[in-house]
């Protein structure tokens, strides 16, 4: 049974072999796979296979012979690496080596697979392989991928038999490599060639061949390789460059060739070549041994020094700019100087390192002495360049830093003695600034001894910089800015300045800040002061803040109100800064909580003085706005570092005094300007928002005591002293209700409850809302209405009991209102409707289930003529924005201990608006389409446009577009004279714009109406004086070409261009800009 099985395998193998070899153009893969599986499954031994193929190997038909060798190689390639026995691989290797002469390609593939076989260990055959390879390799005959196989052989041989080769075949291997690698062009092969060259140069003995190996790699310098578009191997020129660099710098033996050649390349005019040469030289210096580097140090120095000396570095003002410029610039031009400096640094490090035992500074001192000759005058030739080189050398080690400073500073600072002109001062400061950079760089990773050479010159440096800033004229802007930025460097330099010296510098900065009106200098010194406040806040708090605050006038009643600029005479030096800019400067300095706390208290005291000197409302308001700004800014910066601003202590130190000032000064309650009360309430709210929720119940209790029961005697938290009057919000109306609700809206809803019976409180509020006396006091009445809305939203539970109470209220409010009567609405009706609206708003905000009948009722009003004057306004209340209902988040630990941000101050369902829109829009449209009455039609559209004003996220409307569109578009033709008509038109335009922007629905809707739209847009643009309508129309016109094909637009083109001429002369620049952009689009229409 086994026998015939054998011989039918025999036949199968034979037929497969015949098929493969005879059918010349059929090199199908399948035969290879079948044969190799037979071998792998041991159905066929390799020997049998070779015997079967034997007869073809001796054929005189050359093609058959090469195909049979190829078949063997391909089979070998398919076999797993542990398949072959030792002697089989040895036998086959010998066989294939002999085949190299006439079937080089076919055999080399097989040889490569054999080398990779685990048990190919016979080293004796390698010599024969190498010499045959060397003999038969002719790159001109071979394709790139065939040469790739040859490189593969060498690389794998080396990796597998490195020691054997090193000890016995060192020269042969190198010679074979040189034969194979000479004049290779293909990038993939080059990468292997470079890798081999590197391995040879680092592991083998290359003394005899160092020139050849060097030439073999340096011939490719400089590499300017542009990868072909769809390069399968994704080789980049940087890869090739760094591989080449590794070779040139891997063995000091190359030095005699590499250094001269590379330095010669430095003279090339192309920055690309120069930068590459520099990078290579730097690598050589880093890798070659100290002896070699020392040998070439002087020749290197002479080659490199002119790279820097001959560059005027005209606009270089600091080392930091040089580095910044180098890092983010794309062109090589900017890389030359930094690379040259880096080379000098590496040279300095290497030459002074004591690898070979002797620390030798002769060369370095030579260089230093050569350079310091140029330092006699700060603006002399090469002076800046020499200082730059010396500074970069001194940044390599403390020893060299001291050495350089000791030698150069006496000369540099010599000229200070007899006074220096401004240009010399500028040059001198720049030269010194290079060394300040080295100091900073060294201090990052070195511990400074206290006998640092530069410290000897600290006073001279300090004197020079201070004089340049403080005694130079104000129009020497560059000099002063240089002085400022370098003085700041001194402050930043670790253990360089004493506290008094830093203090003095901040004092100088403060004086310049106050006195210098040049915008550039002002900007520079403000920037530096702000930086100081984040590293040394104490300095700013002790010096700058007090001086600025001192300048803030205690009252502005006596100033002449010139256009914002008020000159303030404060003891001797006056400043032209206005109080607004002083406050602005102060707020820009708040970089952390430490400064915030001090400034808030100081501003509070200033507020107190302002109030006692009856300053203007604007000035007080501006001060409070500044406090709000610094509070917000600090909270935001802390949040960016995910910390939470906690100012619980303000509840004792700030809030009580602030509230006392507000409540005790009637300027805050003045009828003409609610703004002051509004702004102050916002500040109070902000403080409570940023305090711990645990303290909020006490606040609520005190609130009710002071504002509802009029008892400010035992107020603990909210007031420093009792008021000399009583506030009883529920008995006697006062606009202080707005302060009350700001604070009530700030507390955490989950940790507080009302200290009163909620139903009673709600009823009292409703009574207040409906008092006749405040019918025309909108600010007061709206305060009470919002109070009602806030309380229902925040504290009325979503339970059946409360629902009954709500429906009770609903009936009480709606029952007296006669829907069908035609009489004019009485005040009573309006009061009820207003209360109804604000209650509905609360229920909608938190998506309370009992909001339905309230909402349905208000929407139903739209259907009655009687209510047409107010119904849309009532709907607007529901979606309108009010500060009271701004939701604030706090991060709180949830059940898994994770930090989660939740809204803590009001109940709000984030989708409330979406839900409301989805409900009301279909109703509005349906009624709009069905009602015959023009008045009602207009009312529906007016309501729709009011609502759309409050939509900022288009996605809410998109689903309704098809229905809204026709209704609103028809309203596009109202005359935009009354405000409400203008709003309707704006909403229609807004809808059109949204439709234009949303691909899905827009095409059809727009195309249908384009014939009417374009003329109407143009008509509106040329008729209305409302800037917004013009901008909208222009935006619609600009969007049209994106939706409508240019063929249809073609016949509108000339009309649009002509009709958009007048608007080019619009009185508003923004309108003119959009108009010209719009016309440009139509000019470019095909």
């Amino acid at each position: 049974m086994g026998q015939n099985k054998d011989n039918n395998i025999e036949e199968e193998v034979q037929s497969l072999i015949n098929q493969y070899i005879i059918d010349i153009n059929n090199s199908n893969e399948q035969i290879i796979i079948d044969l190799s599986t037979l071998i792998i499954d041991d159905k066929l031994t390799l020997l049998q296979f070779v015997q079967n193929i034997g007869k073809f190997l001796t054929q005189d038909n050359e093609l058959m012979r090469s195909k049979s060798v190829l078949l063997i190689s391909l089979i070998l390639d398919k076999l797993p690496s542990n398949k072959l026995a030792m002697k089989d691989s040895f036998f086959l290797m010998g066989f294939l080596i002999n085949r190299l002469s006439d079937n080089f390609n076919e055999a080399s593939v097989g040889i490569l697979s054999l080398i990779l076989m685990n048990n190919f260990k016979s080293t004796e055959v390698i010599a024969d392989l190498l010499s045959t390879l060397k003999e038969n390799y002719d790159s001109r005959q071979l394709l790139a991928k065939q040469r790739y196989v040859a490189f593969g052989i060498l690389l794998n041989l080396f990796n597998k038999f490195e020691n054997f080769i090193l000890s016995n075949l060192n020269n042969l291997f190198i010679e074979t490599f040189i034969k194979v690698s000479t004049s290779e062009k293909d990038p993939r092969n080059l990468l292997i060639s470079f890798e081999l060259n590197y391995k040879i140069s680092t592991s083998l003995d290359i003394n005899k061949y160092s020139e050849e190996l060097f030439d073999n790699s340096f011939c490719y310098f400089p590499i300017s390789f542009k990868p072909p578009p769809n390069d399968p191997y994704k080789i980049t020129s940087d890869e090739l460059k760094s591989a080449l660099r590794k070779i040139l710098s891997c063995n000091s033996i190359f030095a005699k060739d590499s250094i001269p050649n590379l330095t010669q390349k430095l003279t090339s005019s192309s920055p690309l070549v120069k930068a590459d040469a520099l990078n290579n030289l730097i690598a050589c210096i880093q890798n070659y041994n100290v002896k070699t580097v020392k040998e070439y140090s002087i020749s290197l120095w002479n080659a490199i020094k002119f790279e820097i000396l001959h560059n005027e570095l005209s606009d270089l003002q600091s080392y930091e700019d040089l580095i910044k410029n180098y890092e983010n610039s794309s062109n090589d031009e900017d890389k030359i100087i930094p690379l040259s400096l880096k080379l000098i640094e590496q040279l300095t490090v290497k030459v002074t390192s004591n690898d070979d035992g002797i620390e030798e500074y002769v060369t370095i001192e030579l260089i230093i002495d050569e350079l310091i000759k140029n330092l006699t005058a700060p603006d002399a030739k090469y002076s800046k360049q020499s200082a730059l080189i010396l500074a970069s050398m001194s940044s390599t080690s403390i020893k060299i830093f001291n050495l350089t400073v000791a030698k150069s500073f006496p000369i540099i600072l010599l000229c200070i003695k007899e006074g220096v002109s401004v240009p010399k001062q500028r040059a001198l400061i720049i030269n010194l600034s290079f060394f300040l950079y080295s100091y900073t760089k060294l201090s990052q990773n070195h511990q400074f001894p206290n006998n640092l050479e530069i410290l000897k010159h600290k006073d001279d440096i300090f004197m020079l910089l201070s004089k340049s800033l403080m005694s130079s004229s104000k129009n020497e802007v560059t000099l002063r800015c240089l002085a400022i930025s370098n003085l700041f460097k001194l402050v930043k330099m670790k253990d360089f300045l004493s506290y008094q010296e830093a203090n003095l510098i901040v004092q100088y900065f403060t004086e310049v800040l106050i006195d210098d009106t040049n915008p550039t200098t002002f900007k520079e010194v403000l920037e530096k002061i702000v930086s100081v406040s984040s590293i040394e806040p104490k300095l700013i708090l002790e010096i700058t803040v007090p001086q600025l605050l001192a300048l803030l006038p205690d009252s502005d009643s006596n100033e002449i109100q010139k256009e914002g600029e008020i000159s303030l005479k404060v003891d001797n030096h006056s400043t032209v800064k206005s109080k607004e800019s002083l406050l602005k400067i102060l707020s820009s300095m708040v970089e952390n909580k430490e400064i915030l706390d001090v400034l808030m208290i100081r501003l509070l005291h200033k507020l107190n003085t302002l109030l006692s000197n009856n300053s203007s409302i604007e000035y007080i308001k501006y001060l409070i706005l500044t406090m709000i700004e610094i509070l917000t800014k600090t909270s935001k910066t802390m949040e960016n570092h995910n910390q939470q601003l906690e100012i619980d202590n303000y509840l004792k130190t700030f809030l009580p005094q602030f509230l006392y000032l507000i409540l005790q000064n009637d300027i805050f309650h003045s009828k003409e300007n609610y703004g002051l009360l509004e702004v102050s309430s916002k500040l109070a709210k902000l403080i409570v928002i940023n305090t711990n929720s645990s303290k909020h119940q006490v606040i609520v209790d005190s609130l009710f005591k002071i504002f509802v029961y009029g008892d400010s005697s035992s107020s603990e938290i909210l007031l420093t002293r009792p008021l000399n009057y009583q506030i009883k919000l529920l008995e006697q109306p006062s606009n202080l209700v707005n302060l009350f609700i700001k604070l009530l809206s700030a507390v955490d809803k989950s940790t507080t409850k009302l200290p009163v019976d909620i139903h009673e409180y709600i009823r009292d509020l409703i009574k207040m809302c409906q008092l006749d006396v405040i019918i025309h006091e909108d600010y007061e009445r709206l305060g009470y209405l919002q109070n009602l809305c806030l309380v229902i939203d925040k504290y009325l539970a979503n339970t059946n009991e409360e629902h009954e109470f709500l429906s009770l209220l609903f009936n009480e409010l709606t029952e007296p209102i006669e829907l069908n009567s035609t009489a004019v609405l009485s005040n009573k009706d309006l009061k009820n409707l207003e209360v109804l609206a604000w209650i509905t708003k609360a229920l909608i905000l938190k998506n309370d289930s009992s909001s339905d009948n309230y909402r349905e009722y208000l929407i139903k009003l739209l259907d009655f003529n009687r209510f047409s004057s107010v119904s849309s306004k009532l709907i607007e209340v529901l979606v309108s924005k009010s500060e009271i209902f701004n939701a604030y988040k706090k991060s709180v630990k949830n059940s898994f201990g994770l930090n989660k941000k939740i809204i803590f101050n009001i109940n709000i369902n984030l989708l409330f608006k979406q839900k409301f829109f989805n409900d009301i829009i279909p109703k509005l449209i349906a009624s709009f389409n069905s009602t015959p009455s023009a008045i009602l039609k207009k009312n529906y559209v007016a309501t729709l446009s009011l609502i759309l004003k409050y939509v900022d996220d288009d996605s809410i409307i998109l689903p309704h577009l098809p229905t809204i569109f026709p209704a609103l578009v028809s309203s596009l033709y109202y005359e935009p004279n009354s405000e409400s008509d203008k709003t309707i038109i704006k909403s229609s335009l807004k809808i059109i714009l949204i439709t234009l922007k949303d691909e899905s629905s827009s095409k059809k809707l727009i195309l249908e109406n384009i014939k009417r739209f374009v003329p109407r847009f143009l008509e509106l643009i040329n008729s209305t004086n409302d800037g917004d309508i013009k901008v909208y129309c222009l935006q619609c016109l600009m969007k049209l070409p994106e939706v409508v094909d240019s063929a249809t637009l073609a016949d509108f083109k000339s009309g649009i261009l002509r009709n958009l001429i007048p608007v080019l002369d619009d009185r508003k620049r923004i309108v003119r800009k959009i108009a010209s952009d719009c016309r440009q689009i139509y000019y470019d229409l095909a």
């Binding site: 206005s578 909270s635 702004v679 909108d778 709206l782 701004n886 004003k949 405000e979 002369d1065």
Partner: protein, 224 residues
Amino acid sequence: MSDPINANPTVLDVSQLPSRVTFDKSVNGGNVAAIFQDDDLRDLLSLSLFNGNDDMKEFRVDPDGDVLSMSDPEILSVASSVDGSSSEGENDEDEPIDAQEIFDLVSTISDPEHPLTLGQLAVISLADIKVLNKKAKSEISEVIIKITPTITHCSLATLIGLGIRVRLERCLPPRFRITILVKEGTHQSENQVNKQLNDKERVAAACENEQLLGVISQMLSTCK
């Protein structure tokens, strides 16, 4: 385009170009009134049923021309929504066309030869633009622009001049007479170029020439 005649002109950084700095007056004496524009307060009061003026509140024009955002109660992190940043307030004085506006219109035109704009190449600078803008819009006003070609024999000076004229004729109202001149001494055939740039008939003809119009719209495509 043959390889650029003037291979490496000095290039200004965009940030150096003069731009209409809405001078932050608040740093040196802010415009006090603007800060007290309580938009929120005015919006709130407009909700009153009784005497909330019928005046619906104004939309606020969003300068970069996007659909206006009327945000609903913002969901804010603890940092409150300070409305200190309320808009500058509706100052309604007229904003006459001035040199800066002309500069903004033409400085972003791209040079036919380099991938840079005329502003970056300093072909146009604010100082070389003169606007004699008569108060009344019914009168004729004048704009005189002096261009500095990158090199003295620049053959593209006429093309650059034409690009500027087409851009201005498309963006300025017809009452402006535009004169474009090459800056004295910056071009060999100065008068010849000036004459061609200011011949309205030849400019009109050029605008009907397909190939030339293609080049010009390419130059204007980078206008922002």
